[in-house]
Symmetry: C2
Amino acid sequence: MAHREDSVETIQQEMTAFARRARATAARMHPELSLVSYTLLAHLDDQQGCRATDLAAHYFLDKSTVSRQIAALEKLGFVERRVDPEDHRVQVLHPTEKGDRVLANVTASRRRAFHERLADWDEEDLDRFATYLRRYNAAQERLG
Amino acid sequence: MAHREDSVETIQQEMTAFARRARATAARMHPELSLVSYTLLAHLDDQQGCRATDLAAHYFLDKSTVSRQIAALEKLGFVERRVDPEDHRVQVLHPTEKGDRVLANVTASRRRAFHERLADWDEEDLDRFATYLRRYNAAQERLG
DNA sequence: TCTATTGCGTTGTACTATACAACTACCTCT
DNA sequence: AGAGGTAGTTGTATAGTACAACGCAATAGA
């Protein structure tokens, strides 16, 4: 009973602490691509291109936010727009070659940072932690 | 080997997804107190009052940021300043009664949300997850 | 004791991320 | 053809943040 309460309390505190720090840490370590830009660019890469609207829906962002983020990424030469010939309202977004390079660098660097943080964890703990996080995020998505 | 990689990749993805969403979720659920205000106010409550400089150091925030956050909390009537009679440069910050009430409400509501998300977890998983999060955050702090 | 340095906090300025609302351009259905 | 919906942009506003310049108080050194 008390134990359950305590664990939830700790989870809350640690998740909160992490959330508070995350953006600033990411910005410090990867100045060339903010956490949000990184996520969007990675999604484009992953999906082999998609629409701004899809990004907005997937990340619960306003379309205006996505529009500006994409405009910034385009200005940096990391993303290009291809107007859909079937529907001229639609722009399919793709990473450019330069965007791919930067994305690969940041991904590698993020991966290094995570590996470093988790260096002394054994495989079983890593696996469990990954599973817990996935489960937690799924629950949060489900419950809003 | 591959397994280790996969787990780290998942942890990275899920932590990133969580970080991206956290502030907006918090703001939606607790409009009266942002994630940062909440954290600062909770710290004051916890420490039985402290200085702006201490908050800045503890949360790796610029002193100007803290100054403005505190000003906002004061304007809302959630925090009061008591000039240290020993050192007139120093203001010791305390939650007001109203601040305590709001803090208690938000804390309770956050706690409910976490309990809801974690409702179907058994005690052992909760305990492990809490431990992992603590370990992860400690490593991140240690490694910058 | 006078001065120089340090520490605490505020204010000016700038930037990023974000939302909401109004708008344009385009598409689809009747 | 007109109505209504969809994709994306732009205007406006807000929050959170940092950095730099400042003012005031305290303290250490000559």
